[in-house]
Symmetry: C3
Subunit: 395 residues, 3 copies
């Protein structure tokens, strides 16, 4: 049996910050760990009006943000933080975010999540997307600010379900729509289990408009201290890796090694072509220096065939972190991605699903097991690490 | 006697989502129909914080939006919907609307009303308004985003009055002001009667600033299914009609006929010079294919001398609808309208009023009566339908 | 002893609009005047969600705006208003302010405070700040909208303290931060005393980010009728005064004299190099025509070495007022200010404090005393009043 709870439902006047979903509300669920789910509303600062769903499955603690496109603010696994410290300390109500600020990077004014979706219509660096016809004449021109709209769109419907088997599912609906601008619906689902160290994301993006619509999706999964530190390492099964730009190319030799907080460090991005197993799952691992804690990221390469590693080991106060980013493409301007076949067009009524899972690793054995799995996935052919950007990957 | 209720009053700390104004609150009002008025606040999604006044006069149901400049979200008459389905499903809090998005058409992110005001300072297509002196030198340059500010400005004072005769009046005050930017006050009044199929808009726009200020007003009245359908028709008493552009010119012959939902259909606009009777009332009619349901729009041509018919019979999911739009001018960039004498300048302390009424027609007799009225108003001289845009109407 | 009250604290779920802090809550405080402090939240219009702290010390009444960067909306001293009437009548929630509107002067959509901070990263006229290297090559380009972000950033923590000696302190924390955009924290403190006609501002701006950050601060202190009127006068101890531009240069001879409300009047700004005494305090005085009421402004020239007088005696309805503006520099584009050594760079961890006090003068004796103090400060050397703009002060 599954018991369901409606936390937000605009159409039915539901906005529930009272109910605590826990063992006594769902007595049929397993009671071997102390778990609870509830929604609170923040007041004051740029967080005014932000709803936060606090999920504790007994092992994982996660703070979800319906107000910010069902992003995941921060979390912890068995007490180890899964988070980073952005200069923006608290969740920002999208009402205060102006995407057009600073030449189109206003998105950064609200950026502090452990997991934030970049999409749905586009993601990547801001710029003018110019579409030309066969003769090279401009058909349309549109300025696309950084990383799209979805992180700054609130969910209009949020449901929590808890099964007798201890499965917890939180589902949010977020519409990215505009008159003469398409209509995409994200059904964002986070699933975990009572006592588990893992959560899964099962997202569906449907074109519920009447015209074909391009979509891009990138999952910006960000981690800082204590997982990230001097000597932390990254591992992924991949066929090829290329630096995004000249700056990244400076350190191709040690692209999997992390520095400690380094004032003045300029970000480095590496674009990866991941290898997947028979189950279509790519696998990446971030490990602390002592290889005793970390996060494993398994992602469905059938719809997320690209991966970006964002190294941002600048000063702690400036937002020391790294981003593990499975995606439909690389975070370039959409027109470049389209040119290279990495933009998905959804026909009216069509949809696409994205899946990945994040596991908190809390022992050297955990890390070793995931690392061995990656090694096996890699097989005998080592990844090619390009020392200069690939022309078809970097705009 | 008239009984009054304050729903919103910032200055006096009033925000009433509790009171239900109905037969038992106003026992002296007619009781021959079940009527009620109340305000609710929406929570979640982009509707967070939007107030909706739900008015049911026993025949008409109307949802007013104080948060969106006293627009009228949707309604019904005797059970027939007066509304359309925008890709934007619910009322959008202006806090989430960035007018500057998409080259100045961000207004469309919140566009889903059955009646939305476009103004007060300007309306029409976005663009740079360049004002030059007699020698052609640029005096000022201002980017004017689509359709002005008023739809995205919340009312600071809203009152409901119910008379013993059954007249219901909802009045909202909305200021469109900025330091060094003028100060206009819209007093938006919706009037109806218990049991009536008609509502009237009596608007007043006052220049309460100290400097002369230009104003433009367009009432964007939008209807979709079931009134609008394959074979639905439009009728208006007019001297002249001209297509807005080449696209509209393609179909001048059947500009009063509607298609069903047509994926890929590109909008067509027709500009109309309406004929008014002795009472200064122009008259337009939208009828369903069987001529059994429709809406009649009577508007005061003394201040709304222009009319635009917006045909937007694209796919249902993309926002299949038509707009009947009485206005002070045509929805071109304000500088073009000014050049052609269609911009009103209000001196300090001056004001202007706009009036129109919408009646839901629910029988073939209703439709026939209105149609006959239009025919009489038209008289013996048929309207001139231009087959190309008029240079003084289209920018 | 000091008793403290938390009004806003996002991190601890505090948002208190219930408590009235007054004689019965703090019985140990002096009871020789009827004083009170409480926070209310506004609903409706553009004020939706704005918190106002109403402080009455028994002589001064002040309305503080945590939602607008701890600005001070309006006030009165012994019944005389300290305020002005902007076309924008009520406090505007920053969620409704788009800084990018009207070519970057959208800030004016929310401008109506008696005291509003302009900063922290920059202030002054909007423009493209282009930074070049030694060879003149463009290193970076950033559009800086009018007067910076701080007025449109809500405080995330607000505390009130009342001491047994009758000192009232209201402290608000406001972060101006963005990923890849620095992290500045304003600790804004307003101090007054039960029964006093004076309030003090003690602000601290700390660079809590990891990179050096430029800051600018200007305190826009604005007064209208009844203090400001035909024949009102301004006095300041200064070495030099220069008109900002040709418009201000027209009236250098009577730059300290005010007109009554003058429709069509175009604003005039005068840049002042103030003289300070041994205590580093500059002193300025605005007096009504009869020299019987006014405001005295004492400011710490060690960190606020510049002063701008903004004369804006346009029509009452357009916002008749004058601004007394102690600042780190003059309100030009930051790149110009930097070029002339008036931009402060804070190293990581560094901070800077700003102090000034405003006293309401309610008698001819008060005015005469302050005036005499200014005369003494000025000494024997009269100020140089330039008749044209100084090239190093005006961009």
């Amino acid at each position: 049996m599954t018991q369901s709870f409606s936390l937000i439902d605009v159409d039915h006047g539901v906005h529930d910050t009272t109910t605590v979903i826990a063992a006594d509300t769902v007595p049929s669920a397993p009671a071997d760990a102390e778990w609870s789910i509830r929604m609170v509303r923040l007041h004051g600062g740029l967080s005014e009006g932000v709803d936060v769903i606090e999920l504790n499955n007994g092992c994982l603690k996660l703070s979800l943000l319906p107000t910010r496109g069902m992003g995941l603010w921060k979390g912890s696994v068995a007490g180890t933080p899964l988070a980073w410290n952005s200069p923006v300390e608290r969740p920002v109500n999208p009402a205060f975010v102006d995407e057009m600020r600073r030449g189109g990077i206003g998105w950064l004014d609200g950026f502090n999540e452990m997991l934030v979706r970049c999409g749905l219509g586009w993601n990547g660096a801001p710029g003018n997307e110019i579409i030309t016809d066969a003769d090279g004449n401009t058909v349309s021109e549109q300025f696309l600010p950084l990383h799209g709209r979805i992180a700054n769109l609130p969910a209009h419907k949020v449901t929590v379900a808890v099964s007798d088997e201890g499965q917890i599912t939180i589902t949010g609906l977020v519409d990215e729509a505009s008159m003469f601008g398409g209509k995409l619906r994200l059904t964002a689902t986070l699933t975990t289990w009572i006592g588990s160290n893992t959560f899964e994301i099962h997202d569906n993006v449907a074109n519920i408009g009447g015209s074909p619509t391009d979509i891009e999706m990138l999952y910006h999964c960000n981690f800082g201290a204590p997982l990230l530190e001097q000597g932390a390492t990254f591992q992924i099964a991949a066929t090829e890796i290329a630096p995004r730009d000249a700056r990244a190319a400076e350190d191709c030799d040690n692209w999997t090694q992390y520095l400690g907080p380094t004032p003045g460090y300029a970000e480095q991005c590496y674009f990866v072509a991941p290898i997947a197993g028979n189950d279509n799952r790519g696998l990446a691992l971030l490990s602390s220096a002592d290889q005793a804690t970390g996060v494993a990221l398994r992602f469905d390469t059938s719809t997320l065939p690209c991966f970006t590693l964002w190294k941002n080991t600048q000063a702690t106060e400036d937002g020391y972190c790294t981003g593990l980013e499975p995606a439909t493409g690389y975070p370039n301007l959409r027109s470049f991605e389209r040119q290279h076949g990495r933009v998905t067009t959804l026909a009216p009524g069509a949809d696409i699903s994205f899946e990945f899972a994040i596991s908190g690793c809390t022992s050297a054995d955990d890390i070793a097991a995931v690392s061995a799995e990656i090694t096996a996935l890699q097989g005998d052919t080592p990844a090619v690490v390009h020392t200069v950007p690939r022309a078809d990957w970097s705009a």
